[in-house]
Amino acid sequence: MATPALTRVELDYAGGERLTMNMGPQHPSAHGVFRAILTLEGETVVGVDAVIGYLHRCHEKLAETLTYAQYPSIASKTDYVAAMTSEFAYVLAAEEIGKIDVPRRAQYLRVVTSELQRVASHLLWLGTWCMDMGGALGGGATIFLYCIRERELILDLFESLVGARLLYGFYQVGGVRYDIPSGWAEACRNTIDLIDQRIGEYEGLLEENPFFLARAQGVGLISRDLAEDVGIAGPLLRGSGVQFDLRRAAAYSSYQDFQFKIPTEIQGDCFARYRVRMAEFRESIRIVRQALDGLPEGPISSRPGLKSVAQVRIPKGEAYARVEGPRGEVGCYMIADGSAKPYRMKWRGASFSNLAVLPHIIPGHKVADVVAIMGSVDPVFGEVDR
């Protein structure tokens, strides 16, 4: 289908020739299946038509057919790189409508896992983004392999906690499903101490590399106005000068108990987003330490054991629960009708809104910058397409 470019920027290009170039859907820098139809004038992109939906599974229809006990483990398949946070949003929404109490120990365990998840997710982002810009970083896969090495340690922790390495099903309405095994807290402390040290190593590798700086600084500017208008969230929003973090602004699951900073940068370019995420590593590690230190004793779930998956019933009502995922505001808008399944459930995927900014910021950049910008947005297509 011939599709006209959505956004055009008129430039002083002497030639009258425009070239339409297809990028994706299997382009390695897309981190998934994303197709961008670029309109080029020479090397400069003047229009972008973003084509998404290759990974669509209609999660929202699926949620209407699955019970509150069944869906949380499916929710992890929306953002599979940060599976914990999507489950989190779903159970929070159900708990808000049902006014279900969550024991303090479960709240702290939720904080520990979602912060470890943020570190794991940011590690994957850093590694893949730097590999996308490979050649410029003098050796390509170095940072990628370092990051994957560290991410593996966190996945090992999740594996010993849940039994799974990617998609967890750790959360349930009313609490969490597993308590930490003996020795887990100690292993977790050792892992985060190690990662804390190595983050400085990556910063040294990258920020003293003039090629990295040239490709990241001043590229892909997002103004505060555009950021809010499109509704991008998380590190992108904070990279554009908005000091907004749901963990502070609308604290959930005991986040008010922890000390942490909200890293904010004002430049709004790829480098600012990189800086925000690098600072977030350290803040997440701080939160995990505090949560492990103050981990209360007690039950991990207020929900009794189930004999049937249809046993959890949520009274009539509606709620919008949102959590600060690694990519920003992951929201779940749920309408319950008193049965064992939601009447309607809407995912606000952070990546969906973040990706929607691309057609606004890419025009005017060179083709090679498209890769850098796309990587700095950190989309996960399971969450874009849902």
């Binding site: 939906g53 499109v230 602004a249 929607a356």
Partner: protein, 150 residues
């Protein structure tokens, strides 16, 4: 802006709107005021952050539009709603007010078949161009066949 100030501004400018709660304000407006209320919330209440928009199918009672916008500085949030009459699937677009509504409304069109008047590029976004029907309508069965694949 505090929440009581916002509440009085809403009732001053939109007398016909039903307001419930204050965190967020759940405001139900007639569908013809859908766009003008969004404009008012953005300019007057400072709700410049476009969170999401979607729809709900209430079967015989028609479709309902839902959108959430936030003021990130002082925590005023609005969940705006509008009911479409049964059988109606046209509604003003929010794209002139919020650029983020572009993809959200395309998704809404894709899933519910709602035609947003004034949307610059209303076409399917998640499903293929040749898809028949709008899956999130309650009348669309989960096992609807999709020839030739199933």
């Amino acid at each position: 802006m505090t929440r009581p100030q916002a509440a009085s501004l809403i009732s001053q400018h939109f007398g016909g709107a039903q307001v419930q709660g204050d965190a967020p304000f759940v405001v139900t407006v007639p569908s013809e005021q859908w766009q003008s209320f969004a404009r008012f919330a953005k300019d007057t209440l400072g709700c410049r952050f476009f969170s999401f928009s979607t729809a709900v199918d209430w079967k015989d009672q028609g479709l309902e539009l839902v959108a959430r916008i936030d003021n990130l500085d002082d925590g005023v949030s609005v969940l705006m709603k509008a009911r479409l009459a049964p059988g109606v699937s046209e509604c003003p677009s929010l794209v002139p007010v919020f650029r983020g509504a572009d993809w959200m409304e395309r998704e809404c069109y894709d899933m519910f078949g709602i035609r947003f008047e004034g949307h610059p590029d209303l076409r399917r976004i998640l499903l293929g161009d040749d898809w028949v029907g709008h899956p999130l309508l309650k009348s669309y069965a989960v096992d609807t066949p999709y020839p030739p694949y199933r």
